[in-house]
């Protein structure tokens, strides 16, 4: 809607649109096979519906799915507007290379149009990306050995960026099932981490939380350090202190 005062109908702001990039880093290692991977897909469908129904978020959210197992990839090679987002078929196989997922994330954040950088006199930039990591186990190397040696520096590279480079507003880590470690999840995140069961109800709760978080994050003046810090976890999601 433009001004309903005729004399002002021609007064148009010069800038463009701003979007909110949302990255979902999904563990598709072999341990996710079966019910968990099916629950993730259904959760993505729920996520798409809920965000698309929000009158504010639906216009600005674009989603990038980064799956990680023995390899990592950004599905569709770019981010997709939430209205056009089609939950992918996920196949669980391999080890848990979170380090590779962070590498893919970093490359995407530096690439337009995945994330648009603001340039005065040029283009309006996107909001800082929001990143969610969902995993059911501990990060490994290529041989399946649990290690912090690989993912930690890659995660730090995503967070500690040179001035002027885009970095996430937040990284929220969520661990599902019995094999997650609270300390690791906390270290993956920028402050907000949860653990949950691996059943369908828990995944519904998780993706509802993600939707609400994203809707809240587009509020003007949202906490730039951690826009989801004030979100209340719902039942089924246990916040890691």
């Amino acid at each position: 809607m433009q001004s309903n005062v005729p004399a002002w109908a021609d007064v148009q702001p010069a800038g463009g649109e701003r979007q909110l990039p949302v990255y979902l880093l999904l563990d598709t290692s072999s341990s996710m096979d079966g019910a968990p991977i099916d629950a993730v897909r259904r959760g993505l469908e729920l996520f798409q519906r809920e965000v698309s129904n929000d009158p504010f978020a639906r216009d600005v959210v674009k989603v990038g799915i980064i799956t990680f197992a023995s390899d990592a990839q950004l599905l569709n090679n770019t981010l997709v507007p939430i209205a056009d987002f089609q939950p992918p078929n996920l196949v669980a196989f391999g080890v848990t290379r979170l380090d590779l997922a962070f590498q893919v994330l970093l490359r995407s954040m530096d690439r337009e149009p995945d994330v648009v950088k603001a340039v005065k006199g040029g283009q309006k930039g996107d909001w800082k990306p929001a990143v969610f990591v969902l995993t059911d186990g501990l990060p490994t190397d290529g041989n399946g050995e649990v290690t912090d040696r690989l993912w930690m520096p890659e995660r730090d590279a995503v967070i500690n960026r040179p001035r002027g480079k885009i970095k996430p507003s937040t990284i929220v880590a969520v661990g599902c099932g019995p094999n997650v470690d609270d300390t690791t999840l906390k270290n993956i995140s920028t402050g907000t981490a949860f653990r949950m069961e691996a059943d369908s109800a828990a995944f519904v709760t998780l993706f509802q939380y993600l939707s609400q978080s994203i809707v809240s994050s587009v509020a003007p003046g949202g906490n730039p350090d951690d826009p989801f810090a004030d979100m209340q976890a719902t039942s089924g999601l246990i916040r890691i202190p």
Binding site: N4, P13, G15, G16, F56, V60, G121, G122, R163, G222
Partner: protein, 397 residues
């Protein structure tokens, strides 16, 4: 006596929260029309949260002070900071005017004009009626006819309009806009000396210093941490007779000037926090590290016909397009103001525009104060807002 005015948002204290969702104000001073408006952002409105922006405009004699501030969204009481800051900055800017360029203070009763005009003056009264103007929030049709309200629930929305109007008597020699053929500042105006320019810069710095200190006291009086009052701060001081002035800025938002060549430029560039979701605020102890101050120095190449003072809800939609588009925006604003029948309507239309223009992802509060020259005597004719009136209505607080 040189009269002045104070318009815009009022300070909020412990006695209560009276910050309106929409605010507009207007005034005339010398050759300038001043219109300001502030509109709650769409997301705030949808979530029933308050407007966090604030603006204030004050004058005394030829001096005009404007300030806008944007309360940080994550601080629920930030509007208490924003309203305090704009009130404080505008008051202190006028109070801190350097001794070398004082506001005149001849007593009204001692003026030569008094005896000559006494018979006329004693019978002056404000005008009996104002031309009706209509604010059209986006939920209501343009004609404001309830029977034709645009859509279901919106039609039942209750809007309570509240306003204060004042009239300032304009005496000969007073820069309150009383001259029938106002002279605009131009490049031939006497330039302030170097010491005067320094004094203006100092006045701006002192205004920010004292506002910071006052903000801490204000927080104490409200029994909250000063961080709860986090807000940006942009201030503008202009001598409408000479065209010289000074601007200061902490955090995002913008202070723009529109030149006679119809090019818009930023008058000052404050340090950038590095991304669009962070900003510097005046409540920080090290705020001066992020304070940028710059003089307004008209010249043949840079003679401004209009100034725009705005929060980031507006500047975020303006500064990231091509420069030419910014110029076009400034020109179209000027053209739109020219069509308004009077300052009240100009302000109402500005408020309506701020409330209704749509850009995806632009939902923040929007505040814009425009200081625009009326008719120029240098060949650039910018008639504005109809005929001059014997008395000039303002929203006064």
């Amino acid at each position: 006596m040189r009269t002045g005015f104070a318009i815009g948002d009022r300070g909020l204290g412990a006695s209560g929260d009276t910050h309106p969702h929409w605010m507009m104000a207007h005034a005339e001073i010398g050759p300038y029309l001043v219109v300001g408006a502030s509109a709650i952002g769409k997301l705030h409105l949808a979530h029933r949260s308050p407007r966090d922006d604030a603006f204030a405009v004050r004058s005394i004699g030829p001096w005009l002070a404007v300030a806008v501030a944007d309360g940080v969204g994550t601080r629920p009481l930030s509007r208490f900071g924003a309203t305090y800051v704009v009130e404080s900055l505008t008051a202190l800017l006028l109070r801190n005017l350097p001794a070398s360029i004082p506001p005149e203070s001849e007593p009204f009763v001692g003026s030569a004009a008094f005896s000559e005009d006494a018979a006329v003056l004693k019978d002056l009264v404000p005008p009996p009626a104002l031309e009706q103007f209509i604010f059209n929030p986006p939920l209501v049709r343009y004609n404001n006819d309830a029977s034709e309200a645009s859509s279901g629930d919106a039609a039942s929305m209750q809007f309570h309009q509240a306003a204060t109007m004042s009239w300032c008597l304009s005496l000969p020699g007073d820069a309150q806009g009383g001259a029938s053929q106002p002279e605009a500042p131009d490049s031939s105006s006497p330039a302030p000396s170097v010491s005067q320019e320094t004094a203006l810069l100092d006045a701006m710095e002192q205004a920010f210093d004292k506002t910071y200190l006052g903000l801490k006291q204000h927080a104490s009086s409200l029994s909250v941490e000063v961080a709860e009052l986090s807000c940006t701060a942009l201030a503008f001081l202009l001598n409408v007779e000479t065209g010289y002035g000074v601007v200061g800025q902490i955090g995002d938002g913008a202070l723009l000037g529109l030149s006679t060549q119809l090019q818009a430029k930023e008058l000052v560039e404050a340090p950038d926090a590095g991304d669009q979701q962070s900003t510097y605020t005046i409540n920080r102890p090290n705020f001066k590290k992020y304070l940028a101050i710059s003089p307004i120095t008209p010249s043949a190449e840079q003679d401004f016909t209009a100034f725009f003072v705005m929060t980031d809800g507006v500047s975020g939609d303006l500064l990231y397009g091509p420069r030419s588009a910014l110029d076009e925006w400034a020109k179209s604003i000027r053209a739109a103001l020219q069509t308004a029948h009077n300052p009240s309507i100009a302000a109402a239309q500005l408020l309506n525009w701020l409330s209704s223009y749509e850009v995806k992802g632009s939902w923040d509060d929007r505040t814009l104060v425009i200081i625009m020259q009326r008719e120029r005597n240098d060949g650039n004719s910018h008639p504005v807002t109809g005929e001059p009136e014997p008395a000039r209505p303002t929203d006064d607080h």
